[in-house]
């Protein structure tokens, strides 16, 4: 086919004017898709007729648009654009929520843990106080035991000393159950007593031991008799000679001479 001749034939002009038969239209469509020069000429002619049509433009009444739109269905294009926004927000929200929940949980855990620590601390403080009190009790007991031990050691030392005598004094009719021991060493001049059983005295009274030398009483010291009295009471009077020992009840602190009316017990010292 001679293309320039076809273009010059005027069929393309009639085509854009809409004045061709169906067969001619198909022919132009076919050739324009094969030959670029046909398509090019067709495009230029189409543009010319478009421009010509545009020259006749008339603004339609304003209400025409809404009348047309009422008859059309639109794809809601605006929504898919807007939708992701709330989706994004809702993505953000749980994250924020989770963070908040985690933070709150950690806070609660810390609070619970601190309460636990506080209770532990109180328990420990109680335990420490208990331990301290029991410790002081033990220390008291230990010191008591130490005292007892030193007494016992003193007693033992006294007993071990050569020449220590043990004398038993029995109560007379004024003290029928009276029973006590006197330990005496003439060489070291030490005297001690062990009260086994003697009547209780008034607070202002004390027992006083006397050593009798040639019929004369010599003060050998005062001692107590009661629940609190020590097992062995060392007396602080040096006694180097004694024919006998006697016990009287005197005023607290002792008397220079014995009150014979209160004599409770007496024993002689074997030569």
């Amino acid at each position: 086919m001679n293309i320039p001749e076809y273009i010059a034939s005027g069929i393309l002009e009639s085509y854009v004017m809409g004045a061709v038969s169906d067969q001619e239209r198909r022919e132009v469509n076919c050739l324009s898709s094969i030959y670029p020069e046909v398509q090019q000429e067709l495009d230029q002619l189409s543009l010319s007729i478009e421009n010509y049509a545009l020259l006749h433009s008339v603004e339609p009444p304003a209400e025409l648009k809404s009348k047309i739109m009422a008859q059309l269905t639109f794809e809601k294009a605006a929504e898919p654009i807007i939708r992701p926004m709330p989706v994004d927000m809702s993505i953000d929200r749980p994250t924020f929520k989770t963070t908040w929940i985690v933070a709150a949980s950690i806070g609660l855990l810390l609070l619970a843990f601190s309460f636990y620590l506080l209770s532990q601390l109180r328990t420990n403080q109680d335990t420490v106080a208990q331990l301290q009190s029991s410790n002081s009790v033990l220390q008291k007991e230990v010191s008591q035991l130490k005292d007892n031990q030193s007494e016992s050691e003193q007693a033992l030392a006294l007993f071990r000393q050569h020449g220590t005598r043990t004398l038993e004094l029995k109560g007379n009719e004024k003290a029928p159950n009276g029973d006590m021991l006197v330990f005496w060493n003439a060489k070291t001049r030490q005297v001690a007593v062990e009260v086994r059983s003697l009547p209780h005295l008034n607070p202002d009274q004390q027992y006083q031991l006397w050593s009798l030398v040639g019929g004369k009483p010599v003060d050998a010291g005062v001692f107590d008799a009661g629940d609190t009295t020590k097992l062995l009471q060392q007396l602080n009077r040096p006694i180097d000679r004694a024919d006998a020992f006697a016990v009287t009840v005197e005023k607290r602190g002792g008397s220079p001479s014995p009150t014979l009316s209160t004599l409770l017990a007496m024993t002689t010292v074997d030569a």
């Binding site: 004017m17 010319s48 007729i49 049509a53 545009l54 433009s57």
Partner: protein
């Protein structure tokens, strides 16, 4: 020119139109409704009828967008053809309606149609601008374009109407379009 601004955006517009995007319709309508309404008005010569037809045309365009093939021509060309064909079909249906007994269009009727079309004054002030370009077009060429393009006349009908040989009509149509092409080029 109004035409140039729409050239750039046409491919974007088509992409949106195939999705039946509402915004794209606004664009399409705002850009092309004056041209389509103008063409339809020029064909049917009746405001109310033209408005009804423009409604039908836009609905048709909207429903048949998938039939539009961008490789075969521009969107506006396609829309113009839809508008023109719809309006001419409606015009013919109207013309044949009163003389239903005589379905074949007579020469007498044709003369009447043409008289009606061409004796009517240009009704729209917007058409003043046409004079600048179209006044340069030879009157006999412009007459033929109007008869064929806006009147929907076939070559034979135009030849009969203008009392010209068929060959002259064909030559004159080609000459008119070529002149139009040159006018818009400059």
């Amino acid at each position: 020119m109004k035409r140039q601004s729409s050239l750039v955006s046409e491919s974007v517009l088509i992409e949106k139109l195939t999705r039946r995007d509402e915004q794209a319709f606004h664009w399409l309508y705002d850009q092309y409704s004056p041209a389509l309404y103008g063409v339809v008005l020029r064909i049917v010569r009746d405001d109310e009828h033209a408005q009804d037809l423009v409604q039908d045309i836009f609905v048709k365009i909207w429903k048949n967008l998938d039939a539009y093939d961008a490789s075969k021509g521009r969107l506006f060309t396609w829309m113009l053809n839809v508008a023109r064909n719809t309006a001419i079909d409606a015009l013919r249906a109207r013309k044949t309606q009163p003389s239903q007994t005589n379905a074949i269009r007579t020469d007498e009727e044709n003369v009447h149609i043409v008289d009606r079309q061409h004796n009517t004054e240009q009704p729209n002030p917007e058409h003043i601008g046409i004079k600048d370009v179209v006044s340069q077009l030879r009157p006999e060429r412009r007459q033929l374009i109007d008869l064929v393009y806006f009147g929907g006349y076939t070559h034979e009908e135009a030849a009969d109407e203008l009392n010209l040989p068929l060959g002259t009509v064909k030559t004159r149509i080609r000459a008119a379009l070529q002149e139009l092409k040159q006018l818009f080029k400059s």
